[in-house]
């Protein structure tokens, strides 16, 4: 059997697999609307969704005004983090790359506290825009620093620049919150990654960026495949390596920036899901990207559902759940699953 037949066979199975994932995601999203820290019967949920129960009831408010936007945000943010992680791992050829090491989280946090202390900004709806700006700026800064010198932004220089910017932004944030209790209080809400307390305005605010970034990412598959062969080979194949890298970074900045701005830093999804996708589809980024796009929101929403039902009448933030459940899973992957190099 020639290798091209294997590839064709695989592609034959991967297409329907994607459809199956789509159905699973829809089911999980439905679960995320029906389950929560408040006990609401399925029939009440369905009536609320159909708009049959009038506006006044608390069941309607919780279902339509809280759980629906929360679920949609979970889908978009999950997809964005997974894809951003996959693109970043591909472009840096670093299997441990996630958006955190590109300075996204630290940049967003630094701008949130600056907005609070210097500009007196209050309220999540306003400061997510500062978080977004901070995330983008930090990523650009990392890219610019790494691009200095002859070889351009090589993976090693990117990792070093990322670490430096993260450290710098981190000290700025710490310096401010140590002397400003208000900033600390506001930051606390934002700094534990969570889907709670985000309603329609935040969803509609970040959705356009996330959708554009996700669509654009799907066009990167072939270029990332080329980079995976090594830069010289990619160049030999006629690829414009610098351009690919810049475009990939722009996509990561928009996706991770908007996701982090809306929900705070959510780790793990962007790091691990691309490995899961790679485990299923092999090294072809034309499949890894869409698989990451569907697998990540499934993981994120499931973790969020767990967080909402285990601590009633309160909730656990999804960031905490992912940390607790995610660490052993990650160790398992590394230990038994052969962590495939990007």
């Amino acid at each position: 059997m020639s290798s091209s037949t294997v590839r064709a066979r695989r592609a034959l199975a991967l297409g329907p697999g994607l459809a199956v994932l789509g159905v699973i995601l829809a089911l999980v999203a439905f679960l995320s609307i029906t389950l929560g820290s408040r006990d609401i019967g399925l029939s009440d949920v369905l009536r609320a969704l159909a708009g049959l129960d009038g506006d006044g009831s608390i069941e309607h408010t919780v279902t339509v005004d809280m759980r629906v936007p929360r679920t949609l945000l979970g889908v978009l943010v999950g997809a964005a983090l997974g894809v951003a992680g996959a693109v970043l791992q591909g472009v840096t050829r670093n299997p441990l790359a996630d958006t955190g090491i590109m300075g996204v989280n630290s940049g967003a946090a630094a701008f949130v506290v600056l907005a609070i202390t210097v500009l007196g900004v209050r309220g999540v709806g306003v400061y997510i825009w500062f978080a977004f700006a901070g995330a983008i700026l930090a990523t650009l800064l990392v890219y610019a620093i790494a691009s200095l010198g002859r070889e351009g932004a090589t993976p090693v220089k990117l990792a070093l620049a990322g670490a430096a910017v993260t450290a710098g932004m981190g000290s700025l944030t710490t310096g401010i919150v140590m002397t400003n209790v208000d900033a600390l209080n506001e930051l606390r809400f934002w700094q534990v990654g969570s889907l709670a307390g985000r309603y329609a305005p935040i969803l509609t605010g970040v959705a356009p960026f996330l959708v554009i970034g996700l669509v654009a990412s799907l066009a990167c598959g072939r270029a990332l495949n080329g980079l995976a062969l090594g830069e010289d080979t990619a160049r030999g194949l006629g690829q414009r390596v610098g351009l690919t890298r810049a475009a990939a970074f722009a996509i990561v900045a928009v996706l991770a920036g908007a996701a982090t701005a809306a929900c705070g830093p959510i780790v793990f999804v962007g790091l691990v899901v691309p490995h899961l996708a790679r485990f299923i589809c092999g090294p072809d980024y034309r499949w890894i990207l869409p698989y990451s796009m569907l697998l990540s929101p499934i993981v994120l929403l499931l973790a969020d559902i767990v967080g909402r039902v285990v601590a009633r009448p309160g909730e656990l933030q999804v960031g905490v759940v992912l940390g607790v459940l995610g660490a052993p899973v990650f160790i398992g992957i590394v230990r038994y699953g052969r962590l495939s190099e990007a």
């Binding site: 820290s37 710490t174 209790v181 600390l184 809400f189 307390g197 009448p313 309160g314």
Partner: protein
């Protein structure tokens, strides 16, 4: 993690209360130049050859001593002395400010004041005095090496606390029967009488102490809030939440989906975040806040959460509550 401590569920943890109640009332000796002794909240009897005169005190404790005319030489606070409710309106000229953040005290500056007494509340649950608790900078904790540390135990009642500091002030030479002090005490007693009378006219009124936050709603557990225990003692039905956070029992945490779990007739709103427009703002921001009928009816009043130390402050806060109770409708939540 340490950085969280002062703010986790609001400064509660740092400024406040402790589990076991203290029944020990501090004893005093007749005042003169000395020898001096005082029974600390921990039960230990602290002695000195001479009555201390150069005192360094934690913010609320300083306010308590100053209300009896004892002026400390230095003060350490948990926040800016401009916003600390204990110090508001007090003349701090001539007093060195040694710290304006929880857990951070300038011990070098403190040493230069040559103190002969450090005053901070004693926390039975943490077995430490204010400023020396777990989580405080190790450097700051050296404060205790400068002079003996005494304080009244944080327990089950603000009245115990106020009386304890009255006794301490007396041992330090304050004339606690001076007319303005007597007047302040009288004012407090009148405020309690008025509060009890107002509560008696509304036998069905229930209140809930709350602190809404962006990610959840906190419901206070009176067991760990001495002023709420005082209110209960005086007849007010402060709801006891049924599932306080086991790791941090000062509060029960409600997700916003469950914000309407309790339906009180009046909301006591954490004074650290209360403003006149806060209720309307939260109603706009959180879809379920107005599912609490009392919030919808704007039946909210500021609650002096976890900071009171003096008769004067307590009297002023009680008067506000009495007004709100008089105006409250005891059927809002039913």
């Amino acid at each position: 993690m340490r950085i969280w401590r002062p703010i986790v569920a609001a400064a509660a943890l740092s400024l406040t209360l402790a589990a076991c109640g203290s029944t020990d009332t501090p004893e005093t000796t007749p005042t003169s130049a000395g020898p001096w002794q005082f029974t600390d909240g921990s039960g230990e009897v602290v002695k000195a050859d001479k009555t201390p005169t150069r005192i360094i005190a934690h913010a609320g404790e300083a306010a308590a001593l100053m209300s009896f005319g004892i002026k400390p030489v230095g003060v350490y606070a948990d926040e800016s002395v401009k916003t600390d409710p204990n110090l508001k309106g007090l003349d701090l000229t001539g007093i060195e400010i040694l710290g304006e953040e929880w857990g951070k005290i300038d011990v070098e500056k403190a040493a230069s004041l040559r103190p002969d007494l450090i005053v901070g509340d004693y926390w039975p649950a943490e077995k430490a005095h204010s400023g020396l608790e777990e989580g405080v900078d190790e450097k700051s904790k050296k404060l205790k090496e400068l002079a003996p540390v005494v304080g009244v135990s944080q327990g089950k009642s603000i009245v115990d606390l106020a009386e304890g500091y009255e006794a301490l002030a007396k041992s330090l030479g304050a004339k606690v029967d001076a007319p303005e002090i007597a007047a302040s005490k009288k004012k407090f007693e009148d405020a309690v009488t008025a509060f009890k009378a107002a509560v008696a006219t509304k036998p069905n009124l229930t209140v809930l102490a709350m602190s809404p936050a962006d990610d959840k709603v906190y419901v206070a557990n009176p067991e760990f809030a001495p002023e709420l225990l005082d209110f209960q003692k005086w007849g007010l039905k402060v709801v006891n939440p049924d599932k306080p956070d086991p790791g941090f029992p000062y509060w029960e945490n409600l997700s916003w989906e469950n914000a309407d779990k309790y339906q009180p007739d009046l909301i006591l709103w954490d004074g650290r975040s209360y403003t006149d427009t806060a209720n309307a703002e939260w109603g706009k921001k959180q879809p379920t806040w107005f599912a609490i009928k009392a919030a919808k009816a704007n039946a909210v009043v500021s609650w002096p959460a976890y900071w009171l130390h003096t008769y004067g402050h307590f009297a002023a806060e009680l008067d506000k509550l009495t007004t709100a109770i008089k105006a409250a409708d005891e059927n809002v939540g039913s």
